[in-house]
């Protein structure tokens, strides 16, 4: 009996329900620690934005915002308010020394042309073949897509940062996505509250586990076979 086939249907073990794992802040810090100096990085809306604050000031990582900012800084405060500078989430942000501004067409040429080292996105679901679904839960109502599909195929690497399970405990790392895809076969790595997981040709590869959880409990919360590091 394969672990994967039972995992999708199995309810999480009772002890696993109590495991909250890393906070969003800790997840963002864990991811930020893996971004080397010199990378050009786009951060999606939501949990990914926390990654920006988790990068130490003395490490030069250049943040891109798809509406045309390269060298984005933290959110503005009342002291430096300039409502004409916005990020992709339409928040007022600062520009770092060395920043530049381009048009939407140049910004997306930068994205689609493979010039960004990394894009960090949130997601509803990710599959063991690297498919992911983060733009809409359903096509019944009219969805908005924005730049998600461009980033998904354009950046050199896609890392996701997301809760390991849904609010009602269902796995979000799956054998196959159930929601409309953002892009097929692009995700390289997933950071969750319970684990760091790489996606290779054979599927989910466990990189690191939260110390509060056992491998078996983690597998029970994962809808696809987890391969232990060999």
């Amino acid at each position: 009996m394969s672990v994967a086939s039972t995992a999708t249907a199995a309810k999480p073990a009772p002890e696993a329900n109590n495991v909250k794992g890393w906070s969003r802040q800790q997840m963002a810090q864990r991811l930020a620690d893996d971004i080397p100096e010199g990378w050009y990085v786009n951060l999606g809306i939501g949990i990914p934005l926390l990654v920006g604050n988790a990068i130490p000031d003395d490490r030069e990582v250049v943040l891109q915002s798809e509406n045309g900012i390269l060298g984005m800084g933290p959110l503005q405060t009342k002291d430096n308010l300039d409502t004409w500078i916005v990020n992709a989430g339409k928040q007022n942000v600062t520009l770092k020394t060395g920043a530049s501004i381009v048009s939407h067409s140049d910004s997306f040429a930068m994205i689609r042309g493979g010039h960004l080292d990394l894009c960090v996105l949130g997601s509803f679901e990710v599959a063991q073949n690297g498919d992911f679904a983060n733009w809409t839960t359903s096509l019944k109502s009219v969805p908005a897509v924005g730049g998600a599909m461009d980033l998904a195929v354009g950046a050199k690497r896609i890392w996701l940062i997301m809760e390991h399970t849904s609010k009602d405990g269902k796995p979000r790392l799956l054998e196959q996505c159930t929601m409309p895809l953002t892009a097929p076969s692009v995700v390289k790595r997933v950071y969750t509250n319970l684990a760091v997981v790489d996606i290779s040709e054979r599927g989910f590869e466990l990189v690191e586990m939260n110390p509060e959880i056992t491998f078996e409990a983690l597998q029970a919360r994962t809808g696809g076979k987890l391969h232990r590091p060999s």
Partner: protein, 230 residues
Amino acid sequence: MAINKIVQNLADAMAGIKDGSTVLVGGFGAVGQPNQLIDALTEQGATDLTIVANNAGTGRAGLAGLMAAGRVRKIICSFPRSAGSVVFEELQAAGKLELELVAQGTLAERMRAAGAGVPAFYTATAYGTYIGEGKEVREFKGRKYILEEAIKADVALIEAWQADRWGNLRYRTSGRNFNPVMATAADLTICQTQHVVELGELGPDDVHTPGVYVDRVVHIPYGDPPPAQP
């Protein structure tokens, strides 16, 4: 006679826009959006319009006002639903507005292509997704792409920070967004500008959009730095 693209009022700026036109509308959220031109278009009365913009308007003024007045048959955009997109949602629910949902980078590139005389192009964005369904697929060097057609428009409504009588334009920070690419993709490009400057005041290296792309300029100052408008 010397070139002078500056028109004296909004009615002159809107002269000749016909029913059934495809109209590009610049702006990203509230920034760099030609609000007074949009209101003037509502006033001018052209109807059965196809609007191309990143968003589908918020509140009941501006683009939402044009839509609420029943002038828009179809909207082509990447992010139709956002906080406050009430008019869009009402018209959609009533079946009175056609929507073409386009990934944001593809939206920009479809206009860039039109401006550069390219009728269509292949992109990896949206391949294997709902948005890519039914589109021609072709493989290059082992990767799959979909065919997307250029968007050539009748009219572009854009916003600039500075303009001279030749129609040379310069934008300010995030106000740039879709404005430069839209300027290139329409038969009639109309610009509202915060500042009118003397010819030569914008140096050759400072011109973001050369005057060849611009037909009419109207001076609409509203603050320096401007408040972001709804």
